[in-house]
């Protein structure tokens, strides 16, 4: 991994179009500014990890464990009619 030291208001370039700057540092929290073309997706890494973990949980679904929603839905429709 490339490791660079930066001060507040300094930045790094990734390629020609992505600029990441250090906006503020308070204690152990660093505020970053990201300038990138709109087609570049920027997400917190935890979001990826959360979805990945959820998929791993989801794949454990047992076919006989799916509760019937149909009855509930019918009731919803009946409620709508009233």
């Amino acid at each position: 991994m490339l490791i660079l030291s930066r001060r507040v208001n300094e930045s790094i370039m990734i390629g020609d179009q992505i600029e990441i700057s250090v906006v503020d540092i308070k204690g152990d929290q660093v505020k970053l500014g990201i300038k990138a073309p709109s087609q570049i997706k920027v997400f917190r890494q935890e979001v990826y990890r959360a979805i990945q973990q959820e998929n791993i949980q989801a794949v454990k679904a047992q076919p006989d464990k799916i509760p019937p929603l149909e009855g509930l839905l019918d009731k919803t429709k009946q409620a709508e009619k009233k």
């Binding site: 959360a50 998929n55 509930l72």
Partner: protein
């Protein structure tokens, strides 16, 4: 064609049920070919891997329990699978069914988007933080019934 499924054993399916995920699903990047099947339990679907029979996801249309749901994903994700107009989009939430099935949840933060015409899909990430990884399906459905939503 015949495929092996986790839920129903070996079954005959139409090849138009095949959906290719060129990037896989998060955590399952190496698996790219799936079949979309109706589950016996409506309104659920199965997304069955054609490569590993044990890998199958339960899916739901999130609007069934969240009528206010709107798909909000990066435009580039839609473009990547060749979607240029809204009518081409088919989207689902992946369902997690824990030990107690009544606690089942749907993942609205990582929706699956599919191009209906080309049957190419990908898992996207919601740009709206209101849509989270675990939405309790039965609780939110109950809210709909009460008219609280």
């Amino acid at each position: 064609m015949r495929v092996a499924t986790k839920a129903y054993g070996s079954i005959e399916v139409d090849e138009r049920q095949e959906i290719v995920f060129p990037f896989g699903l998060l955590g399952f990047e190496s698996l790219k070919r799936y079949m979309l099947l109706d589950a016996v339990q409506q309104p659920f679907y199965w997304l069955q891997s054609m490569e590993v029979v044990e890998i199958a996801f339960v899916l739901i249309n999130p609007r069934i329990f969240r009528p206010d749901y709107r798909l909000e994903v990066p435009k580039s994700d839609l473009e990547e699978i060749g979607i240029s107009c809204e009518q081409d989009i088919l989207d689902f939430a992946v369902v997690t069914i824990p030990e107690d099935p009544k606690e089942m949840t749907a993942n609205l933060q990582g929706p699956l988007i599919i191009n209906r015409k080309s049957r190419v899909g990908r898992q996207s990430i919601s740009t709206n933080p209101a849509w989270q990884v675990k939405h309790p399906i039965l609780k939110e459905l109950a809210l709909v019934r009460q008219g609280a939503c």
